[in-house]
Symmetry: C2
Subunit: 330 residues, 2 copies
């Protein structure tokens, strides 16, 4: 199970139809920003205009509190940025704070960089030129503070390297964002749109960096990286601050309810963010199979057989369904 | 004017609103495949599934007559493939048959390859390792035959290089496609979805190549390169062969009407495809400005001041409007 959010493998193994499954394998919010029914035909038909891209960038600047001396680049999902950054980075090895989202490691390896796993940013080996940290981290939710990030970025600046900070799950606690570091330091921040806004299929993400780095990323992506619908919907959603405020509350509330269900079932909650919870159980692998047999799909990990990750159940009755399925395990 | 299809610059200079302009600056069909009003919510909300991507690839195989030993890779527009290919190609210079769509040259230069302009594929310099040809060519519509393509590909194979064939405008005459060459030769074919299907905002394109090359492209793009709507709509549209058949006729008909309007106005038609016409006129630059003052936007070129390119006017009355504006020039 390389990724969450894809029932193709689950259905192949356990049967059922997509409608029968409760998919908790992902960190994508189950409550999407409401897409208007009447998207203008032009967003589908025409090449996205410069004006549309600039409007979205302005909205992202505001939503992510980007300072004047940093630039925003739009991309078809942060995954596309994860693919490009190692190609654009200078030769040299990279430290990745892990365990974490494994696509970072893959992309740096494909681009020919040596990858060194580290437990935290304060122990960067001398040989390392770049570093990647997911903040808050996926799957454990660990937060690296601004001072540790700044220290690492200063160190890597002396070595001609970059600090990539993947803030895919920072929307729930915007103060985690290290966006202020981009101006003076070689920091590249990734912001995912689809997770908090519940629109992962839209493929929209952002890189925030100093002008030089941002221009190189933009040149690499080329013209029209994002779809017309992504520019249109992203703009309206990022401007909708009232929705974001309410959604943060709703997500927090559901997270607490989910924690209760998990704790009652005897699982130890290790951490997470508002959009997923990491739990520990000695029989996690078996529990994963028992849930799957009841068409509940959670996330397990190749590197740990006692961990599971649960995303947010969309409805109250899904919480009850999960509670019932977990109870059947005992 | 780097590209057609973006009124941002036209409006900044000549005024008006997008609704007031007749945009003929692009080679995108003005008649989109009809998007269903009720796209399933999941295409927006969930990460695109492997099953959805595989279904689209199967439809593309069929639509583009891909042989069993070649592979299809989906991408968010062929532009994203144009950006990646030079990064993946072995070191060495590239010959680009031109004048043509200038993003190929840009992308190969950014990736550090020397770029050599050639007039046709039969005069590849000895030093060249790769070649790019747009077939049929944009903007003049010139077609390179299968035997010339095969000869060039065999030559480049001996040098460890690739022949990239950009078939962005091959939909009107599918027999132009050199898709059969992919099996035995190092040929990478690019197919654009958005132009013929009138859905450029969707960002969808394909690479067709031998298994090894296709896998490298796929690995570079990473997971979920395309949006859920693109997979969903692309699948339905590529399966809709009756629509494609009728649309070819409708486009041919409108092309003939457009040619008449252009010829009557004293323009010499040099060539093109069903989706655009390249014309020559000694006062082309002035004509471009006169049309723009009447909110008609056609395409001119930095490398030739006597050429203009016209896309298809969507409605009969647009043809009349164009005829009237051209008449005002005389």
């Amino acid at each position: 199970m390389k990724h969450g959010g894809d029932l193709t493998g689950a259905i192949a193994r356990y049967g059922g139809t997509p409608q029968m499954w409760l998919d908790l394998s992902t960190g994508i919010s189950p409550w999407p920003w409401p897409i208007p029914a009447d998207l203008p035909g032009a967003v589908w038909q025409r090449l996205p205009s410069r004006a549309a891209e600039e409007a979205l960038i302005a909205a992202a600047r505001d939503a992510y509190a980007v300072l004047a001396d940093a630039e925003v680049v739009v991309a078809p999902g942060t995954q596309s940025l994860i693919q490009w950054l190692p190609q654009l980075a200078s030769r040299g090895s990279v430290a990745i704070v892990g365990p974490t989202y494994h696509e970072h490691e893959l992309a740096w390896r494909i681009a020919g960089h040596e990858v060194i796993a580290v437990a935290n940013l304060d122990e960067l080996p001398d040989a390392v030129r770049h570093a990647v940290v997911v903040n808050p981290n996926n799957p454990d939710g660990r937060v690296t503070g601004h001072s540790a990030l700044a220290r690492a970025a200063e160190l890597l600046q002396d070595r001609g390297g970059w600090l990539v900070i993947d803030e895919a799950f920072a929307d729930m606690e915007p103060e985690i964002s290290a966006v202020g570091l981009c101006v003076e330091l070689p920091v590249v921040i990734l912001r995912s749109f689809g997770k908090f806004y519940g629109l992962a299929g839209l493929r929209l993400g952002f890189a925030i960096a100093h002008r030089d780095v941002a221009q190189r990323i933009s040149l690499a992506l080329g013209p029209w990286p994002c779809s017309g619908p992504a520019l249109n919907i992203g703009l309206a959603a990022l401007r909708d601050k009232e929705w974001a405020r309410c959604m943060r509350n709703a997500i927090q509330h559901r997270t607490r309810e989910l924690d209760t269900v998990l704790a009652v079932a005897g699982l130890t909650i290790l951490g997470g963010t508002g959009l997923f919870r990491l739990v520990q159980h000695p029989d996690a692998t078996k529990m994963h199979a028992v849930l799957a047999a009841q068409y509940i799909w959670c996330r397990r990990f190749e590197w740990a057989d006692d961990l599971l990750r649960f995303g947010l159940p969309p409805h109250k009755h899904d919480l009850h369904r999960l509670a019932g399925a977990l109870a059947s395990f005992k």
